[in-house]
Assembly symmetry: C2
Homo-oligomer: 339 residues x 2
DNA sequence: CTGAAAGCGCTTACAG
DNA sequence: CTGAAAGCGCTTACAG
């Protein structure tokens, strides 16, 4: 209670109080085994009595490390991202790291700024879920960063780093195949930003599925737009005005699908009867939606866990080869495309 | 390109290169206006040439501050929390702070651990969304922390700190009133943890509404359970087995409501006809749900913004009086309780 | 407007 | 097993 409001107790004061050297006190704090039990107890006692709190900033300063990992994501309000973040966070915390969080809201300039900030804070490592339209400048900035880093969810050409994501092409292929097998011939692809690898990989799967079935892709049924509810709503309204509207919609992600479903309801189009819809990501809402959404599961939490583990390895073993982890997606058939 | 992989360039090296003292270089880096234009340019040139990166860890060490704010939340996968976090994050970032994030998953021990970690990292301030069952130990730990702090969303008795949240009692009152006005006499209250202020405040509103209308509360229609989809599902299944099942359900939050709706569908009970449902929080999914959910809007993003601003004031003006900001909720009537 | 010296609170070699 | 000295890379007073 005599603890004054002014300053923290320092390790030096602890050492003085315990009658040992600062070095010894430091070794005790860090649980170094070469300290005798007696000394350890003395020091721990003093720590308790004085109410000492370890100063990681000072420790990190000297040891030229930090227990901090920078994590930069595009948007926490997307469940895919928040699930990813949970995977990253819980894994890193279990490994003894703390997360310095940055959110870009898909803005390149915010991303640039956050990257600088994180470096200035001397993070031990970096996990980056890049924005859709990452520039060349971003790429060169990233390559300059001499800190272990892992890219996730969106791949950037020419960046020297580990990567974890899922196989979007196969996911799209499975989804569109499913729709084709149900007899659909006019399938729309709505949402997503063309400049992003997550879009180009999906469109590849979209085309492959059409090719295999000997079907033509109608470019007027492909609309790229922000991948959220609003974008989905806008896109479906546009596509419904087409002379030959689609009979099925493959959505960039579940959020887009929700917007699409909303738009269909507004136009009196009956889901699962007049039109089928498939999403992507399998966010928790997709299962409980009414009707439950057919979607492609992309395991964001697993991606987060793997990204954190990859980074951990990289932080402890700089020289190992760059890794590229691509998870297999899974088609989950629910009501929006049944029978 | 001659930048070696070994060490960061230091301010001292910059100063040497520019032919000025380290102090001067330091002042330039911090944009101190009392440096002449000529000197400033020389230093900035050297910074560019050498590829100098500011070391905030060292700066913070010496200046005894950090530009870091610790933010501890219960669970990012709840949209209410992620929206809150977005408000906090974007506000703090705009003010020049970076967020050190911790997630408790509603576990007291995790919360204790995270609090310690944040203090050790010498955060400038702390925003805490406490776990449901925060212990006395937590309270005393919090009171010991001599760092500006703001509590959010859940109030803790006897903690000396600012608080931002919404008026849960009034919110519950409005929701239940609405149901009573529709003629309901047997209203269930499902979800939430009894030990939490967020529960007790809601139940108070629940009772007040009944009292005003001269209605009796049936305790068997009140089930406390984890406030998520799974909890909602379990609770409604239990309550449907009641000899006199309720004709309306007031849910602890929207997540619980989604679980409830799922359970109703499983039992062939028709929403809006056999039974009415009201949620709480107005998370984005509630509007796009089918049918759209009647709910109480609790403006999580605004809470986050206000919490960040309160903390900012506190960090810059330690002596001002403790504040308690209670936002007014708003009833949003949608399909699950229409006509 | 600029500089020399000391210090933030630890850890790191090194010595014994 | 323990200690004395130096140093991590900045900023802070102070002097001029």
């Amino acid at each position: 209670m005599k603890q004054s409001k002014k300053q923290r107790v320092t390790l030096q004061e602890v050492a003085l109080h315990a009658g040992v050297s600062t070095s010894t006190a430091s070794l005790v704090v860090r649980n170094n085994p070469r300290i005798s039990e007696a000394t350890r107890k003395k020091v721990l006692n003093s720590i308790n009595e004085l109410g000492y709190v370890y100063d990681r900033v000072a420790a990190n300063m000297r040891s030229r490390s930090s227990d901090i990992v920078g994590v930069i994501v595009t948007d926490i309000s997307n469940s895919f991202i928040s699930e990813f973040l949970i995977g990253v966070q819980s894994t890193l915390e279990a490994l003894g790291y703390t997360v310095l969080l940055g959110t870009t809201f898909d803005s390149v300039s915010k991303q640039d700024h956050l990257l600088s900030t994180m470096i200035e804070h001397r993070v031990d490592g970096l996990i980056l879920n890049p924005v859709s339209k990452s520039s060349e400048k971003t790429v060169s900035q990233l390559n300059k960063i001499e800190i272990p880093k892992v890219l996730a969810n969106r791949e950037l050409a020419n960046v020297n780093s580990d990567y974890v994501g899922i196989d979007y092409t196969t996911g799209a292929l499975m989804a569109v195949n499913h729709l084709i097998e149900k007899g659909h011939k006019r399938i729309a692809f709505l949402g997503g930003i063309k400049q992003s690898s997550t879009w180009t990989e999906r469109i590849r799967g979209f085309h492959i599925a059409h090719d295999i079935a000997g079907l033509k892709v109608d470019e007027s049924l492909i609309i790229d737009i922000e991948p959220n509810r609003k974008g989905g709503l806008e896109a479906i309204l546009k596509v419904l005005e087409n002379d030959h509207p689609p009979t099925a919609v493959f959505c960039f992600n579940d959020l887009v699908a929700f917007g699409v479903i909303k738009g269909l309801a507004m136009n009196g189009v009956i889901l699962g009867q007049d039109i089928d819809v498939v999403g992507f990501d399998n966010i928790p809402e997709s299962e409980l939606y009414h009707p439950p959404l057919t979607t492609v599961s992309s395991f964001p939490r697993s991606i987060g866990i793997k990204a954190a583990n990859l980074l951990y390895n990289r932080m402890n073993n700089e020289s190992s080869e760059l890794q590229r982890l691509i998870l297999k997606p899974e088609l989950i058939i629910r009501e929006t495309s049944k029978k």
